[in-house]
Symmetry: C2
Subunit: 146 residues, 2 copies
């Protein structure tokens, strides 16, 4: 990663903590928000960003995260509705230039796309790879990207 | 898909039902197992395979699914431990030639790989794509596969 960015990660579960640790290690300024304080314990000891224990659907929490300065927001909570709301607020209110959200329900991907939010649907991703594996008799290496 | 296969899908959640519907539509013989009967309602009206309401960690259920005849088993329950157990039984006891499992915890991928089970970790997949998107300022199209 060439340029350091200011990145806000909402949700510190498996995906959120993995992203936050990696993005911080790569030299970005990272803020992680989770409403469950113990979730923030999953951050690596050498995570050099900020931790905020709060509900990202509250404006005060997003302001505390200085969201208006962010280059990127990534919504990774386990709730599609929360991710959609936070992503929209980041985009429309805080004018974050790059907004990404995880969505579990494949049928919601179209709604997100119409709202101009970049989404990742792990269900669709996994399904595509499983179908490919069934057809070809094997998978690509775990997690390997093209 | 050129050849019709006998495929057992364990777990009929978002991923399992999506796979079962698609694999059935593509002309495969599909059996779906879920311990929650209402989960099987997610199957498409034109799903032409068999539905089994039962716990796939019980041998009787796997026998009822005629697992020994299966070309492929795909374990997609929400529980990594269940997927690991079912995948191992399918491989070691029923000699299913191709066993695939979803695993949510990226740290378990290595264990599965050592047991010779093909795994898909949606967390790792999503993380890889998010990191790529942050670096490049955009995502590939949702769910598009290489």
């Amino acid at each position: 990663m060439k340029n350091s960015k200011y990145i806000v990660v909402v949700g510190c579960g498996r995906l959120g903590s993995l992203l936050a640790n990696r993005l911080s290690r790569d030299g970005n300024s990272v803020v992680v928000i989770d409403r469950v304080e113990t979730s923030l314990d999953d951050l690596s000891p050498d995570f050099s960003g900020f931790r905020i224990n709060g509900d990202a659907t509250h404006m005060a929490v997003l302001k505390a995260a200085k969201l208006k300065n962010a280059d990127v927001l990534i919504a990774t909570t386990p709730e599609d509705n929360v991710n959609l709301m936070v992503a929209q607020v980041a985009q429309k209110v805080f004018r974050v230039p790059h907004v990404l959200a995880r969505v579990f329900d494949p049928s919601r991907e179209e709604i997100y796309a119409q709202l101009g939010i970049d989404t990742i649907c792990p269900t669709s991703l996994a399904a595509g790879i499983f179908l490919e594996a069934v057809a070809n008799g094997g998978t690509r290496q775990n997690g390997e990207l093209p």
